[in-house]
Point group: C2
Chain length 391, copies 2
Amino acid sequence: MTETEPALRATNEAFGLSADGIAVIADDEPLRLSSGATLGPIEVAYQTWGTLNDDKSNAVLVCHALTGDQYVLGPHPLTGRGGWWETMLGAGKVLDTDKYFVICANVLGGCMGSTGPGSTNPATGKPYGIDFPVITIKDMVHVQVRLLDRLGIDQLFCAIGGSMGGMQVLQLAADYPERVFSAVPIAAAARHSAQNIAFHEVGRQAIMADPDWNGGRFLELNTLPERGLAVARMAAHITYLSETALHLKFGRDLQDRADLSYAFDADFQVESYLRYQGASFVNRFDANSYLYITRAMDYFDLAAEYDGSLTNAFRNAQSRFCLVSFTSDWLYPTAESREVVRALNAVAANVSFIEIESDKGHDAFLLDEPDLFRILGGFLNGAARHRGLVD
Amino acid sequence: MTETEPALRATNEAFGLSADGIAVIADDEPLRLSSGATLGPIEVAYQTWGTLNDDKSNAVLVCHALTGDQYVLGPHPLTGRGGWWETMLGAGKVLDTDKYFVICANVLGGCMGSTGPGSTNPATGKPYGIDFPVITIKDMVHVQVRLLDRLGIDQLFCAIGGSMGGMQVLQLAADYPERVFSAVPIAAAARHSAQNIAFHEVGRQAIMADPDWNGGRFLELNTLPERGLAVARMAAHITYLSETALHLKFGRDLQDRADLSYAFDADFQVESYLRYQGASFVNRFDANSYLYITRAMDYFDLAAEYDGSLTNAFRNAQSRFCLVSFTSDWLYPTAESREVVRALNAVAANVSFIEIESDKGHDAFLLDEPDLFRILGGFLNGAARHRGLVD
């Protein structure tokens, strides 16, 4: 683990939390999950940047995606590399740490310090494995809200996230409308499509097919389903990129050779790249967390939680929304953002929507996309004025 | 194995071939492969339908796709089910067995009787496994042409196939222009894209990650990498369907249950469907054949074989071409067919091209697509008149 950042240390001291960025919630009474199961106490590992103002009105919650974590900025404690949204967060950036107090917590079910399938099951003294209860996006958001309670933040200035982060933002704005002044779901959807469920199922089957998964008890038995998890990551990674991005980046270029090998080596750069993505992922991610979090995404269907009507879900929405999609994102295509926009319009919510022209695919939200920064910067500045954060 | 069909028995008798639809080629001199390796003798397992006319001008070669085989019509000897193109082949159908003599051979590297990695390596007396040489689409086509030689067919009336079958048709028309009167590549491309290579690589890694693959020696060791092959099939199967097809067919419908299970069972119909696709595939396909044939597809780049110019590839083209693509095919999108059409136009070839509006994805070529039958029927009737097959 890294040394605790100064900002986090100050936050923890201010709120009487433990020094390593862990809040314990549901310690008095276990949390009731969507499944009906209960869980508690729950540890929530988080990071913060910037300073919370006196009336606690400048807090921004960043919600991370499937394989993300609370290390929006690096160095990442396991990889030593930069954080996943360095382009977005920092002094003078869109999520301006000179103006905002930014929080990001590892999701429930994750593997970077929050309670998940790798945590110790108090009933057995061993890692939960697949005895961990199946969780939902709603459960993740419930935990985030409990963390905000602990930090004394009644209303976020903004909740923002891409992909599964965007799903959490939508869930938060639906379930806790009074707690979100502005909401920015990027490259997201109000429900997971059949195709996305299908890709996730391939990944889960790859993990569970690995004998080293050992029925989910691999931590206890000290084996690691590295091959299965790597295959799952490889399959998923293709879906994060556009066909155009793959073509421009790799085409049919060969890796370190002039001619085809006529063997099963990684002849093509795209093969080598995918193998690297798979191999490096297993060093930082827990295979069971991958099962649980993909399951939570597959289960996500916001309308279903509100009598089958997405309009109902936003009936009490109070937030200003800014939705963003990318033209080449085939995992969460623009049509799915438009469905959310239609539901928000139906309840006369304050909503902006932009489809950004990009050939980078779903991962565009993580990359250097000037249009994204310009649009979100403008939206947040306007919202900040309305919220009285700037003159 | 099934009983030999009457038509095939007659063909075999006529050409002095073995009664079970196996031709042996390269028995005098081994075949030189693209890799430089040599292979021979080579067995080619094939089926025929209809009757060859006296001047041998009515032969149609059907080229099968990655996981297809010579059983265009059923019953399939392993599954007992129908063939893969029953919609297209038969009396009164597009490939009219009352008019044409139709041949389909299992590709080199396949696992339904033609020489492949599951065949016995004469050097060791054991199955080749991954000592089998890496093959290419060009090698497959070379073998098909040797089979035509054995059948005494100088010129095919038509070569037709979808997906990898379409690749073979393009290769055949380029390498042996005088032997193809008409060529129908459907849902194909002149080279494999980076995205397609990436999906294949995921499948190969899934197979090779299965300990039961045993370094490719599973037949010898009597183990079967069923789990890895099933995962490979599942990942590939998603790419054969369109997002719309998956949505219309399954959406988020649950399988045999009213509510989510909050477990890792196949809650959604799409999960159950994919698991079935994976599980049933392993009963009829060899994992090493899957490695070799996907590799051949990845290596396919027709222009590269002709000094980097697709126009060069078709410089001597004599065939009448009819190319077909489908709007929702994201594996071989229309743009890739258009590239072939442009190259054919550049050499003033006789070429028709149609993009069929379909929401069924890549697999549309295998399904009941009335537009496909109407267009191909019209094209073949016209070609048959020009060839003097009808008045």
